[in-house]
Symmetry: C2
Subunit: 211 residues, 2 copies
DNA sequence: TAGATTGTTAATCGATTAACAATC
DNA sequence: TAGATTGTTAATCGATTAACAATC
């Protein structure tokens, strides 16, 4: 069942930012915060913050605000950071390696179990303690390990084939860094990181600014 | 002057996708396309496509559609891809190296002139033909070379300092990969690529899907 | 000319902001 | 209790979709 079916993507994409600032408050030993103070941190309006959070439950208390600790735990649960999702990275070039090296994902419960790569020069190497395996071993590996997420960091020419393969292996979620729109069943979750889109937007804004 | 001041960010962020599909059509030697056909490719509605493009000019022709060639050139101009913007990458870890290696940016006119790095083991190395220089040489380098964009791929602890430095060197646009909200003058353009936000969103959707 | 498809206005939908009663 | 701040409804704003006259 889809508990938060009616929550819009606009809301969901704000949650990570709330979560980040709440974690910063925890590091600073702040124990409570009002929507107004949180609005000054995040740049969202207090009204929006209250409405966003109320999509998921009444975490606050009138006259008091929100408990930072409670909010952190609730946001983590909402975002699924308590699930300990497992991942494989397909494509062990610089980008795949960068992600494998990125500690903050595992701090949030994500575990990268292996990288897969076509280039024989890379197969057998390790990134931290994560082995780079042969691309052809994906089927075998996914049979022996439960994998939740496939991270695709291959060149765009290979991305669709890789997507087809990991979906056929039963993986339900793809974090796609290749600049193409993957064609997959609609029950497969695809989250794209499109660097071209981001850079072109920057370029547009820069052009506007200079004129 | 800000020519397209009144155009919303929602529109702007769709332009790169139009541009990508238009380029695919060019590779397939398609010379004309209607908003309806483009809607099938991109997933946006035909109405939206016509309205989006009309923010920038009437590129189409009644009864005919859009010339693919014209649309490509116009989109490139709108996005500033004809400007040949120059960039430096600050942080020469895997992510910085991945971006330096990414050919498709220079195919669109972006030139990476140098990487900068603190780690002495990396200084002096080259990524393709791009040299990794000492972080302390940024001032000197920006005095001798006109740089439009700073790409920040350092750990988050250093990102704000780096931002301050590149802004003081006269750089007006930052492509930021560190998971923090940089504090800069409001006339400086910052485009963030927030991998945490993206992964958490995927995690949220995956959790919803599985339940 | 008839058919196709744009450019553009009007209608709808959804998201954000404002307001305030509820309540800690 | 009085003050503060939430949760939630209503008002506003903006973005998307529908419709159609203009025109190639």
């Amino acid at each position: 069942m889809n508990k938060y079916e009616n929550v819009s993507m606009a809301v969901i994409r704000r949650l990570p930012k709330y979560y980040r600032y709440i974690n910063e408050l925890i590091e600073k030993d702040v124990s409570r915060i009002s929507s107004y103070e949180l609005s000054k941190l995040t740049g969202f309006t207090a009204s929006q913050i209250r409405q966003d959070l109320n999509n998921f439950g009444g975490f606050g208390q009138q006259g008091y605000g929100y408990s930072v600790e409670v909010l952190k735990d609730e946001l983590a649960k909402i975002l699924g950071l308590d699930k300990g999702y497992s991942a494989i990275i397909v494509g062990a070039g610089n980008l795949g390696q960068a992600i494998a090296n990125y500690r903050s994902f595992e701090d949030r419960g994500f575990r990268t179990l292996a990288l897969f790569e076509k280039n024989p020069k890379l197969i057998g190497l390790k990134i931290r303690d994560i082995e780079i395996k042969d691309l052809d071993d994906i089927e075998k590996f996914t049979r022996e390990n439960e994998i939740d997420i496939a991270i695709i960091t291959t060149p765009k020419e290979q991305a669709q084939d890789v997507a087809d393969k990991v979906v056929s292996c039963g993986i339900r979620a793809i974090w796609n860094f290749a600049p193409i729109d993957l064609k997959v069943d609609k029950d497969i979750i695809v989250e794209n990181v499109d660097l071209n889109e981001s850079l072109y937007t920057l370029s547009f804004l820069l052009k506007q600014n200079i004129k």
